[in-house]
Amino acid sequence: MNFKHKYIFLFPGLFVLIGILIFPIIFVVRLSLSGWNSYNGLNFIGLENYIRLFTDDPRFWESFFRLSFLSVTTVVLQYVIGFALAHMVWKEIKFQRFFRVLFLIPMMTTPVIMTVIWRTFFHESLGPVNDILGNFGFSPKWLTDPTLAKFTVIIVEVWQWTPFMFLLLLAGLLSLPKEPFLAAAIDGASPVRKFIYVTFPLMAPISIGAIIIRLIEASKIMDTVYVLTSGGPGTSTETSSFYIFIKGLREFQMGYAASMSFTYLIIMIISLTVIAKVLTKLLLKD
């Protein structure tokens, strides 16, 4: 097909693509090379922002490693719990449909509103959690203890997003061929061994997909932190996206925030590619 005016027909699509994808990336790169804040214009200052980021901003790197910790931990927990739940309702059990819907409810709620409710839950003096624990003489500082606050963020994240993992893994389980399971039972595999040697390996491709999707999502943790702790106490629950948000939209250091965003994007692309490769090597043999 060689058609003279094909570009005319391609243009509307390309225009949208350029408008919403290509231009913003180029603009962010340009922005990161400027000292743009609320009073300067788009003045070119070279790599100054990047030099500052790599030599003089431990807070960004701390928030980045905190983010890595939080997203890996939450995704691993979501995977384990999601797999367990999916496996449970995959088998013929009583009220199967009821459970399948029940496990999806957290996903149907609005994250921000649910986080507000969780914050109320974990409120140190007024929340119901400490109300109950108080009877036993405990009143943990869910939101103001630096270590415990991370734990609280993890709880809320896991609660909110396990259903998504559950849904993907259940779909995967339901799509598995039945025959290998028949064979495995006959071949002397007890239910536990059947899971280890048949179910899990057969689920490997789906697991990798689900984990990568959730890692991408989880590395954007923002709303939970914003509502629950606002990154506090101190910076103990601050994640990269939240820190970039503070720099860019609270302190209006747009150029610097852009350089952080761009660095963050590059790191994420590289690390997710590596993770996907490693997972594939680990779970799929060839």
Partner: protein
Amino acid sequence: MNLVGENLSYKLTEELQLRKISFNFEKGKLYTILGRTLSGKTTLLKTIAGLLMPDSGTIKFEGKNFLEIPVWERNIAMVYQQFINYPHLNVFENIAFPLKQRGLDPQKINEEVFNSLKLVGLEGYEKRKIQELSGGQQQRVSVARSLVKNAKILLLDEPLVNLDYKLREQLREEFKNIFINGLSEESIVIFSTTDPREAMELNGEVIVLDEGKVLQVGAAKEIFENPKNLKVAAISNDPPMNILKAEIDSNKIKFENIEIDIPDHLSKIKDKNFNFGIRASDVELNDNGFEFEVELAEISGSETLLHLTRGNAKIITSIEEVMDFKIRDKVKINFKSNKAYAFDETGNLASSPFGGSSV
């Protein structure tokens, strides 16, 4: 010490159920379950394997209640009609799977797997992925996997049915060798099939199953020679035995204006009306015979199957050569009456050319 089933019943659907099946399988023997589709063959095998729990009845093996033992502890091997393997493992790992479950040491596993690969003729394929194999090779892998266990009970559920003609012939021959050489005296082999020729060729003890009931049990030869009733005669012959409503009058068998001299072995029949049975291979073309009209002619391998009609009588004859017939051609045929069967009006065998009779 046998595998004994008593009054096994299981209801899956209205047309697929087991109705009070009893059996007694002895070690060191080959059993063939012969029956049409939906006769309950697979259901019965699955019940023995433990994949299905019967609604009532008992299965005992070596004196123990088999139904209380979970599937994975029963030491059974099963080959299915679909080629069932583990898609995520290669050929070697597939065959090694049951041995790994038992926790044998790798040296031993290696040895056993290569032995059984040799037995099914797949040496050199151990590194291949299952998806890279042809259907026949995949089925060989699952046969190897079932043999490697040295299970006390080996169940084969129509293992040849999904293979092409040539391969089926070849594997059937190999199966016979495997059953003779590859199995210990301690094993019970149960093979299910819809194909009477397969049952005859394997030459074991045959159990004829229909609508979830056992119709007849006996050696392959016995089932072939003396089918107990019309149903068995139909199931154990391919094409099914021709059955014609006939009557006996002054030492002649009469139907549709045909008169045949009564052969000796049918002369004892007392009833006037009876069912005259004759195999397709015992009907021959003969210029002095009775005229029939060709309804359909099919060539199957090196034979020609002719579907013929005359009035209300419909018969099938098989001719041992490839011949060209047109629909509505007239042909003349003769019946080898010394090979004829008689079944009474209720369908039970009255007299057979091999001595079986109820009179």
